[in-house]
């Protein structure tokens, strides 16, 4: 068992004693007002976007300089205090869930864009800068930062690095890893470190590859160099209806088979379409078994050529209704329902559980049939939105958490979806991360030896397991439990954010 595990066993009195000691030690490193430890001050940090897990941390610190971050880490390392780094707290898998005997290292004050360099098409930003703020800062130069997780108005680049965040456009433009050159930060003992470089590669092992997506368990990120790319001059979207899900799934494969990489390729099933139409009134085809949104971007010449090719493929695949956006307003209207899939689901059900798995594209229709069977088996409804181009599924299981049996069936339903995804050649998390939520699913996907190797990687960076302990790598006894993410009455901590 790790150190951090042992500290869980502290009795209340010794916990309070410990808290006093930790606060006293931290007082030497940063101003009093940057240290929060009274319950009323620490409660806002008790969970991230995965609200099912709530733990008030022992202490919250809000440093505003790298010197302070380093000093905090040194103190915590010497005192063996677990450290959970936190950006905006929008993560959906509990990656920033606090540790009862640890500190929350809030990096909210690291919100400066240090440099936007149009010549090198890069930006150097502090970790607490919001994803969308980077694109806004780059816009005057005709550039933007490509990964666009749907929480992009709130989520931070540090969090994106931790989760290797994707978005609607990653089929064409890649994930966070593909758009980050360098990560600067600190090791668990407070020593400064850089992964990657300002150039396109760095000597030695490609540590940037494992730091990106490591969910705050290997190092603390304070600064990131991101790539910027020229903003496409034009984007147009095709909305196509299909009479059955098999032909919609086949259409997705046909687009790719024709050598087309769309900027976005999304699918909604009939139930989801009905839910979003009631929410946004965008004139979706309510008769269709599935709707595809297929986007082309680039120069006007490229888009014109590509739209023609996409149209041919989709019509040949049996699209029953077909529309190409005439202008930007109509394109955004096509997307409005897709982008509001989550709040729309909150409107038709007391609660919903959002899944996030990836399967090979060719299994989309098969997966939807499986989910339909599960709806009968577990006596619960499920509405579906897919990043079809990537095979990334977000089934939303509808249930009422006041009904204990529904909650139980919902959890079984969710686990069944994840296990089916693995069986179909996929993975238990496409973009939301493992965090606390998918710990159990990791047992399904990885063998004991593979999980032990993950632990070896963790310990290579953090031998005492003080950084974000208890996340990502399940212990053997955890493997029996079921993960869950459930949304109470449609309320997430940021209910206004689209989540898909």
């Amino acid at each position: 068992m790790s150190n951090s595990g042992r500290s869980d066993l502290l009795a209340d009195s010794s916990w309070e004693q410990r808290q006093r000691e930790v606060v006293a030690a931290l007082t030497g490193a940063l101003p009093r007002e940057a240290i929060l430890y009274r319950l009323e001050d620490t409660v806002p940090f008790e969970c991230d976007g995965l609200t099912a897990y709530r733990v008030a941390p022992m202490v919250v610190v809000l440093p505003d300089s790298e010197l302070q971050v380093s000093a905090i880490l040194k103190i915590c390392h010497e005192m063996r205090v677990p450290v959970v780094a936190r950006g905006a707290g929008t993560g959906l898998s509990g990656g920033a869930t606090p540790h009862r005997s640890g500190i929350i290292l809030s990096l909210a004050k690291f919100n400066k864009i240090l440099k936007v360099d149009p010549a090198s098409c890069t930006a150097i930003v502090q970790c607490g800068v919001r994803n969308l703020a980077i694109s806004e800062a780059a816009a005057p130069f005709g550039l933007y930062y490509a990964p666009d997780p749907s929480s992009q108005i709130a989520c931070t680049i540090g969090g994106n690095v931790a989760e290797n965040s994707g978005g609607v456009h990653c089929l064409k433009y890649g994930l966070t890893l593909h758009n980050v050159l360098r990560v600067r930060g600190f090791m668990v003992d407070g020593e400064p470190v850089e992964f990657g470089s300002q150039a396109l590669d760095a000597p030695g092992l490609d540590l940037l590859s494992i730091v990106v997506g490591s969910e705050g368990m290997l190092a603390v990120t304070t600064e990131v160099t991101v790539k910027l790319i020229p903003k496409p001059l034009l984007a147009r979207c095709i909305m196509a209806s299909f009479g059955d899900i098999e032909s919609a799934g086949a259409a997705v494969a046909s687009v790719i088979a024709r050598g087309i990489i769309p900027a976005g390729l999304e699918m909604m099933d009939k139930a989801m379409t009905a839910a979003v139409e009631a929410f946004v009134h965008a004139d979706y085809d309510l008769e269709a078994a599935a709707i595809l949104l297929c986007e082309s971007d680039g120069t006007p010449e490229e888009v014109e050529e590509e739209i023609v090719r996409m149209e041919e493929v989709l019509r040949a695949a049996g699209a029953s209704r077909f529309e190409v956006s005439r202008d930007e307003a109509q394109r955004l209207k096509f997307w409005s329902g897709r982008k509001n899939a989550f709040p729309a689901s909150g409107g038709i059900s007391a609660d919903y559980m959002c899944m996030d798995s990836t399967i090979p594209r060719k299994r989309l229709a098969e997966m939807l049939r499986e989910i339909q069977r599960m709806e009968v088996k577990y006596r619960l409804r499920c509405v579906n939105v897919f990043h079809a181009g990537d095979g990334n599924l977000h089934p939303l299981i509808l249930f009422d958490a006041d009904d204990a049996d529904q909650l139980r069936r919902c959890e079984l339903f969710g686990a069944d979806i994840l296990e089916t995804s693995v069986r179909l050649g996929g993975t238990v998390t496409g973009e939301h991360g493992v965090g606390m939520e998918k710990l159990n699913s990791m047992c399904v996907q990885f063998s004991a030896a593979e999980r032990a190797q993950f632990l070896g990687v963790k310990q290579a960076f953090d031998p005492l397991e003080l950084l974000n302990p208890g996340k990502v790598i399940p212990t053997l006894h955890r493997c029996a439990e079921y993960g869950k993410m459930h949304v109470r009455r449609g309320m997430l901590p940021f209910p206004e954010l689209p989540r898909f």
Partner: protein, 364 residues
């Protein structure tokens, strides 16, 4: 890929045997990249027994191949379906393998535009130093389950384990392509490349050498035609253009050649990786610039210390690709903290230090 596989079982026996005997293993595929990295030691363990494409479905944009599969075999299968490895890996000989491509982690002319080998690796099965067969990542592009160990293996020169099987993201071959030539000096070429970078142009490769800049455009027909018009320059005939880019990709162009005369002058071949916007670098000898300025090849007799110092000043690093004297180290030295992580990772994957000891850095 399962440990019960008979060819794999044989490799596992070799690894377990080496561990028990405290012996080293020198992982070999097609043996085409012996020149690269620090010298190899140990008894050979051949990956070529693991051969063949395991699965390939063009509509998934994913191919899975065993490590010993010849790169040429893989590329022929992709070409048949109008697809390719977009990062244009170098071929140092017909026997080059998929495992070697991944372990060396080298990418070709398109790297600055489409990404590297690492960017296209989706999953991997690895045999570690404990004789365990482990699979990380998968066959889907979006996958954040656990640390991205398969990408850590890319460019590791085999020090963490033996790569058994790899899944790669592939892409359709561009519909249209064109190469333009400009008679510009280094200064002007670098400035112009910098200027183009922030515009939505379909530039897929660039190379400057001896007063000539070659620029390749790839993409939709209309986009390539429009860009040709916009950039100007002289259009290079398709066959000659292909020859030119292949010469760079495979490092078979005479520039890369270290023949007796050049070696006698004390020349080595250096790959200097710097931010593309860094100004001209001057050493005695000959230079070839790729990746829109981010990769500067130098064939020079300059002192390694000087080369490394210049690269470091540019926030980059320098690799001694080919040379008779490797005493200065092949790769730029790491900071103390990164080297500590390297040692611990080595210990986690290969505690008995069986695999390719010292091939990346001494002591690893």
């Amino acid at each position: 890929m399962e440990a019960e596989d008979p060819t794999l079982a044989h490799l596992i026996d070799q690894v377990n045997g080496a561990r028990e005997a405290r012996a080293s293993l020198d992982i070999r595929g097609g043996d085409t990249k012996r020149f690269y990295g620090e010298p190899a030691v140990g008894a050979p363990i051949k990956t070529t027994v693991l051969s063949g494409i395991t699965s390939y479905e063009p509509t998934e944009l994913v191919v899975t191949a065993r490590a010993g599969t010849r790169l040429s075999e893989l590329e022929a299968a992709l070409e048949e379906q109008g697809q390719c490895l977009p990062f244009e890996p170098p071929h140092f000989g017909a026997e080059g393998t998929v495992g070697g491509m991944v372990a060396a982690g080298l990418s070709g002319p398109a790297r600055a535009s489409v990404g590297s080998v690492r960017d296209h690796v989706l999953g991997m099965t690895v045999l570690n130093g404990l004789g365990e067969v482990l699979t990380f990542g998968g066959q889907v592009a979006k996958n954040v389950a656990g640390y991205d160990v398969s990408r850590l293996m890319v460019g590791s020169l085999g020090i963490l384990g033996l790569i058994c099987e790899v899944s790669l993201k592939v892409l359709p071959v561009s519909v249209a392509t064109a190469t333009l030539r400009f008679d510009w000096d280094e200064d002007r070429a670098l400035k112009q490349l910098k200027g183009w970078a922030s515009h939505p142009l379909p530039i897929s490769a660039s190379a400057w050498q001896a007063g000539q800049l070659h620029v390749r455009l790839s993409g939709a027909r209309a986009a390539v035609a429009a860009a040709c018009q916009k950039l100007g320059g002289e259009r290079v005939e398709a066959g000659r253009a292909r020859e030119w880019w292949t010469g760079l990709q495979d490092q078979s162009d005479t520039f890369f050649l270290l023949d007796d005369a050049r070696s006698a002058r004390g020349e080595s071949l250096w790959r200097i990786s710097v931010p593309a916007t860094f100004g001209p670098i001057k050493f005695p000898g000959n230079q070839l610039i790729e990746w829109h300025g981010a990769q500067r090849w130098w064939r020079t007799a300059a002192e390694p210390e000087l080369i490394r110092e210049v690269a470091a000043r540019a926030s980059g690093h320098a690799t001694l690709m080919r040379g008779a004297d490797k005493s200065a180290g092949v790769f730029s030295p790491l900071s103390g903290v990164l080297m500590r992580v390297h040692h611990r990772l080595k210990a986690a994957f290969d505690p008995a230090r069986i695999f390719n000891p010292g091939r990346l850095y001494g002591g690893l």
